[in-house]
Homo-oligomer: 381 residues x 2
């Protein structure tokens, strides 16, 4: 239970105070003590070195207590440190610099002309240099990508879209930049960001379902981001929605991704209308105009998503599902179908799970990588 006594400067309790203020900040010492089941005197002692080190600041709030000595709300000094987050896709690299709260300060975007490791590393190192330029150097780098990777392990075991197998990209980038570097699965990184700075704050459990080129699912259970060394987590893309549905590229019938991924939606509408030139955004516009074929395709996408969310909620029992991803903007077009499918497939002893839709900019992925690096730096796991 209790962790070993290392000769570190920061105790477990100090870390937990810092995290509590970072995530739920600003809070008075008294309130923090109550939340962490510590004595008030412990908080005086624990916060002192953090304040002196510039990690915490006094930050008044509007709330004024009716009675008693006013509290001195403390908050993390978000600009005390910065992080770099990098998201790799098949043809692009997004990199951001964030503060301690995960707020994006700067971002850059590069084309990836090759998937060769040297080339990718050079691009990352260059972006890191550019983002670190005018200010104090960042504390860590987080890299996120679709594939088998996990903070704490510098090796990307498999990344189909990059064609990588067992590439120790974490170590290579660490050597090239001189900064501690972690690599993390992109959905899990985004989940970490939601846990600390997004809709997951204060939840003991939630799922993050992303809709975009594929369908992903990250989990937080028991206040922990779920990791599955060796196996993946949240592999919902190939969840079967209809045994007689269309084929996905892996030869499954009626996979969720064959209905709800942006590529599948675009393909279906383009094929139905005989217009292979249509972009996803144009398809979405057609759906909004209630063009019959497009509307139907979005309905089916909503149904598939509702089914995925219901299944995840039934199995894991999470309190909340966050819907996000590049294609989540389509939600308004398919909300009715989604709600109906969610209700239909929710286990009859439960009420449908709470769902929030989070609008999404692509740099969110890179931000997730930065927050994953931050979590790893602070919690060391």
């Amino acid at each position: 239970m209790s962790s070993p006594q290392r000769q570190t400067q920061v105790s477990d309790a100090m870390r937990s105070v810092f995290v509590e203020l970072l995530v739920h900040g600003p809070l008075s010492r008294a309130e923090t003590a109550r939340r962490l089941a510590l004595s008030p005197s412990a908080l005086t002692k624990l916060t002192k070195p953090l304040i002196e080190g510039g990690y915490l600041l006094y930050q008044p709030t509007e709330e004024r207590p009716a009675l008693g000595r006013p509290s001195q709300p403390l908050a993390v000094n978000a600009s005390r440190m910065s992080l770099i987050g990098v998201k790799l896709t098949s043809d692009e690299m997004f990199a951001v610099r964030t503060d301690l709260r995960g707020q994006i300060q700067r971002e850059v975007r590069r084309e990836l002309r090759s998937h060769e490791v040297d080339h990718v590393v050079a691009e990352i190192a260059d972006a890191v240099r550019e983002l670190s330029l005018p200010v104090t150097p960042p504390s860590a780098v987080g890299i996120s990508l679709a594939g088998t990777a996990s903070a704490g392990d510098p090796i990307v075991h498999t990344s189909p879209f990059l064609g990588w197998n067992d590439v120790p990209i974490g170590n290579i980038v660490a050597a090239a930049t001189g900064l501690p570097t972690i690599v993390e699965n992109d959905v899990r990184a985004l989940t970490a960001a939601q846990q600390w700075f997004g809709a997951g704050v204060g939840r003991h459990s939630f799922a993050l379902v992303t809709v975009g080129a594929g369908i992903g699912c990250g989990l937080v259970i028991g206040d922990q981001v779920v990791r599955s060394p060796g196996r993946g987590t949240g592999l919902v893309g190939h969840l079967a929605v209809d045994n007689n549905g269309p084929l996905c590229e892996m030869g499954h019938r009626g996979c969720a991704r064959a209905y709800a991924s942006s590529a599948a939606i675009q393909r279906s509408i383009a094929a139905a209308l005989g217009r292979p030139d249509l972009t996803f955004d144009q398809c979405l516009a057609l759906g909004r105009e209630q063009q019959p074929a497009a509307a139907r395709v979005f309905q089916e996408a909503g149904r598939a998503l509702g089914r995925v969310v219901a299944t995840v909620a039934n199995i894991t029992g999470v309190e909340l599902v966050i819907l996000s991803g590049e294609a989540v903007q389509m939600f308004d077009v398919c909300a009715d179908a989604f709600d109906a499918a969610l209700a239909e497939h929710t286990h009859w002893t439960s009420t449908p799970v709470e769902v929030v839709v989070k609008p999404f900019t692509f740099s969110e992925w890179a931000r997730g990588a930065a927050v994953a690096a931050l979590q790893y730096q602070i919690l060391g796991a």
Copy 2:
């Protein structure tokens, strides 16, 4: 992170030593120290009061080290305390007394002639009295049932088969027996038993899928039994297997339980053969004889189960799935269909999850309740 300093006699570390020895027992102090990342001296000090209190015993093992001072393997004295476990079904009550390792010492079985709370409590209290008779009184009582209940909350919120809503059965039984009492969902209790004394030992994550009157699923993730206050966990019974399949009693098409629950299997075979008198065991015998209709029904059950297991594994990423329940004896008849469906629905980036089949006696349910009570007594959560 670190838990508060309560004025208990047992420290956190002592508890973790006790649990480590209970679950992985017999272990030398040195080995235990390594596993828990404690110093050897800490172990000398932590074990002393436990040995003096009769909770630990020296227990030699066959292994002899080539070198050095021989170790003194310690093990939990299983007979130091005993627990009562009670499983309630619609028409019966099973009760067992177990030792600290969850070994059943005695069991009783009673018919439940009524679902009235007073009657059920009287039967439980009577069984507890009978089981406690010749020896030292048990330390705690665990009650398990299908429905919404969770250790730490004495109230059964809903139990459809008993017709109970918000019945504080935990408090009532505690008052009637004078023993600390917890109530727990039956599948979760069984999961706890597997975690400490079954196939889940040493696993950070696993799922327990039970097949019987219904289909259930318990989860351990991050070394913790997953609880979902308010919502259920592992509600896989109504997972859709085939959109055009038979109706379940809730009006869903092709639910897993419409294929794989013992009642559904029996109904299907009985209907096909026009013999409503057939029992499940007779159906199983027909399946073993390759009677065509029966064989087909069991195949479909296997397919449904394989799909359930694959879906659970894809979403949660557990290392292992334990298959158990009253109807798991049918596994040999449907293993091929199960394996095929598992492979088919396993996400293509993963290898199929490890599966173990645990033969099952009905008193296993009651044992689960006892272990759930034990876990709650020791971990206090």
